[in-house]
C-alpha cells in the first residue's frame, strides 16, 4: 500500500542534503566549540556559519540568534527571560503584563499560565474572530502601563491562519515612541514563527519583531534543534545556568551537528521559498477544491490569509479520530483537533476560540502538505476521503 504523509505541520522528515551536512559533526568534526584547539575551532566555525545564515535570513545580527533544543524551549526562554528581567530590574513594574491570544500553541499558553501562577506576570488572553485572527484594536485596548510583552503567533498550527504580524509590529513601535518620550518602559513583541518560517516573510526589522521562536523539524532538519531571535537591547535573563555558551543566554555545550542542520535547513528554505510556496499552494487548492465537494464539509481558518501548507476542515457527522483511523488504513496520515485525539479529551482550544462548538471540533481534520507532496497523492486523498466519511456517516445516528 502506498503511504501518503500529510502531517507536515506536525513534523517533516530530515532531508538528505541536511543529513549530509550534519553528518561529519558526529564523528570527524566532533569538537567542543568552547575549546581553543583545532577540533574546538572547527566546531566553533560551523556554529558561527549556521548562526550567520539564520541571522541573514531574519535580517538580524548573528549575536541576536540563540540556539535552543526546540521551539517550545525558545518560547519558554523568550517569555521567562524577558519577564524575569523586567520583574526584578524595573522597580516601577510589580507585575509585568503580557498580551497573547487564545489560539497560541500550548508552549505559549502554558508558559503564560506558569508565569501567572508564580506571580511573575499578569496575562491577557485575547479572543479571535471566526478565522482565528486577533483584532489589532483589541491589542491596543489591552495595553496597560505595565504591558511589556505582546506574544502573537505568526501562523496558527491548527488552521493555518496568518496573524497580522506586521500591523502588530507597527502598533507596538508607535506606542513605544510615546512611551520613550514619557520615560516609560517599552513593549516587546514576540512571535512564534514555527509554522511561518518556511513560507512567509520573516524579516524582523520590517515586521517590528523583538523576539522570534522557531524549530528545525518543520523544515526538514531533525527534531531537537530550535532557535530564538532576541533583538539587541531586549532586557533578558538566561533561564538555563552554567557555562557562557550562546552569548551567556543559554548554557550547555552546543549541539553542533544539529546547529549545522538548522543552518542548512534555513539556507534551503531561502533557496526554495518562492518555488515551494507556489507548488504547495497549487496542490493545496486542488485538495480544498476536491474535499469541499463532499457535502457537510467546510474549510476552517481564513480563506486567503493562510499558510500555504495547512488545510483544515470540519466534517459534519464524522469524528476526527475515527476518520484518522480509516484514512490510516488507506495509507494516509493526517491530524485532528477532536477531543478523542487530544489525549486530554478536550476539543481543540483553537477551534473553540474561533467559535466552533465542541461537536464541530469533534469532526475536524487537518492536512498539512510538504515539499514531497505530489498531485497524485492529493488526487488519491480526494478519492478516498469521501468513502471514509460516507462509511462513518452511515454508522452515525441521524440526529434530526
Amino acid at each position: 500500500m502506498k503511504k501518503i504523509y500529510l502531517d507536515n505541520a506536525a513534523t517533516t522528515p530530515v532531508s538528505p542534503e541536511i543529513l549530509a551536512a550534519m553528518e561529519p559533526y558526529f564523528t570527524n568534526k566532533f569538537g567542543n566549540a568552547s575549546e581553543p584547539h583545532f577540533w574546538g575551532q572547527e566546531a566553533r566555525k560551523a556554529i558561527d556559519e549556521a548562526r550567520e545564515k539564520i541571522a541573514n535570513f531574519l535580517g538580524a545580527k548573528p549575536k541576536e540568534i540563540i540556539f535552543t533544543s526546540c521551539a517550545t524551549e525558545s518560547i519558554n526562554l523568550a517569555h521567562k527571560g524577558l519577564i524575569e528581567s523586567i520583574k526584578y530590574q524595573v522597580s516601577s513594574i510589580k507585575y509585568p503584563h503580557i498580551i497573547t491570544s487564545r489560539v497560541e500553541h500550548k508552549a505559549v499558553l502554558e508558559t503564560c499560565k506558569h508565569l501567572e501562577k508564580i506571580g511573575w506576570a499578569k496575562v491577557t488572553y485575547l479572543p479571535v474572530d471566526k478565522y482565528g485572527i486577533v483584532d489589532i484594536k483589541d491589542i491596543r485596548q489591552a495595553i496597560r502601563p505595565e504591558t511589556v510583552l505582546v506574544s502573537i503567533m505568526y501562523t496558527n498550527n491548527e488552521v493555518g491562519t496568518i496573524e497580522p504580524i506586521g500591523k502588530i509590529g507597527r502598533l507596538i513601535k508607535e506606542i513605544n515612541q510615546s512611551r520613550i518620550s514619557n520615560l516609560k518602559s517599552k513593549i516587546f513583541f514576540h512571535t512564534d514563527a514555527t509554522q511561518a518560517i518556511q513560507y512567509l516573510d520573516c524579516n524582523v526589522d520590517g515586521l517590528g519583531i523583538d523576539l522570534l521562536s522557531f524549530s528545525g523539524h518543520k523544515l526538514y532538519a531533525p527534531k531537537g534543534i530550535g532557535a530564538l531571535y532576541i533583538r539587541s537591547g531586549v532586557p533578558f535573563v538566561r533561564q538555563q545556568d552554567g557555562g557562557g555558551q550562546e552569548y551567556n543566554l543559554r548554557a550547555g555545550t552546543e549541539n553542533v551537528p544539529y546547529i549545522v542542520a538548522l543552518g542548512k535547513a534555513i539556507e534551503l528554505v531561502e533557496q526554495n521559498k518562492v518555488h515551494s510556496t507556489k507548488c504547495i499552494e497549487k496542490l493545496k487548492s486542488k485538495l480544498i477544491e476536491g474535499v469541499l465537494k463532499i457535502s457537510g464539509v467546510k474549510l476552517v481558518g481564513h480563506p486567503t490569509n493562510q499558510a500555504p501548507h495547512i488545510a483544515t476542515f470540519i466534517v459534519e457527522g464524522a469524528e476526527g479520530e475515527a476518520m484518522l483511523l480509516l484514512l490510516s488504513d488507506k495509507g494516509i496520515a493526517a491530524s485532528s483537533g477532536s477531543a478523542c485525539t487530544s489525549g486530554l479529551l478536550k476539543p481543540s482550544h483553537v477551534l473553540t476560540a474561533m467559535g466552533y462548538k465542541p461537536q464541530e471540533a469533534h469532526g475536524s481534520l487537518r492536512f498539512s502538505l510538504g515539499k514531497d507532496t505530489t498531485l497524485k497523492e492529493i488526487d488519491y486523498v480526494v478519492k478516498v476521503l469521501p468513502e471514509v466519511i460516507k462509511k462513518l456517516r452511515k454508522m452515525a445516528p441521524k440526529l434530526i
Partner: protein, 131 residues
C-alpha cells in the same frame, strides 16, 4: 498515534468491520446516550422475544473506541436472556475487546449505559401496553 499499537486487534477489527450496524424499524426498546466528556453519541435499538434479545443494532458518532464498544456489545447480547444481559458491565465489554487504552474506558461506560437504558425503555414500553 499509531493505531495498531494504541488499540487491540479486536478493537480494530470491530472498527473496520462493525457488527450489527444500522437501525431497527419499530424497536421494542431504544436509547440514545451522549458522552459529555468527548462528544460521542451512541444509539441502541433492541427487539425482545420471549425474554431474550432477538435483535440489536447500533448507530454511533464517535471515535474508534466508541464504534468498537458499540459493535462489541451487540455481539455480546444478541440472543441472550435479558436477565444475563442486564449483568453486563463496562469492564466486561472492555475485556471482551482485549482491553481499551485507559483514556478510552469512558467509551465502554457509554456502551453499557446505552444497553441498560435501551432495556429500561423496553420495560417502560411493555408496562405502557399492559395498562
Amino acid at each position: 498515534m499509531n493505531f495498531d499499537q494504541f488499540y487491540s486487534k479486536k478493537v480494530l477489527e470491530h472498527i473496520r468491520h462493525p457488527k450489527n450496524m444500522g437501525e431497527i424499524k419499530n424497536p421494542d426498546g431504544v436509547a440514545t446516550v451522549g458522552n459529555p466528556v468527548c462528544g460521542d453519541i451512541m444509539r441502541l435499538f433492541i427487539k425482545v422475544k420471549e425474554g431474550k434479545i432477538s435483535d440489536i443494532k447500533f448507530q454511533t458518532l464517535g471515535c474508534g473506541a466508541a464504534i468498537a464498544t458499540s459493535s462489541m456489545i451487540t455481539t455480546m447480547v444478541k440472543g441472550k436472556p435479558l436477565a444475563d444481559v442486564e449483568k453486563i458491565t463496562k469492564t466486561a465489554i472492555a475485556e471482551a475487546l482485549g482491553g481499551l487504552p485507559p483514556i478510552k474506558t469512558h467509551c465502554s461506560v457509554l456502551a453499557a449505559d446505552a444497553l441498560h437504558k435501551a432495556i429500561d425503555n423496553y420495560r417502560k414500553n411493555v408496562s405502557k401496553t399492559k395498562k
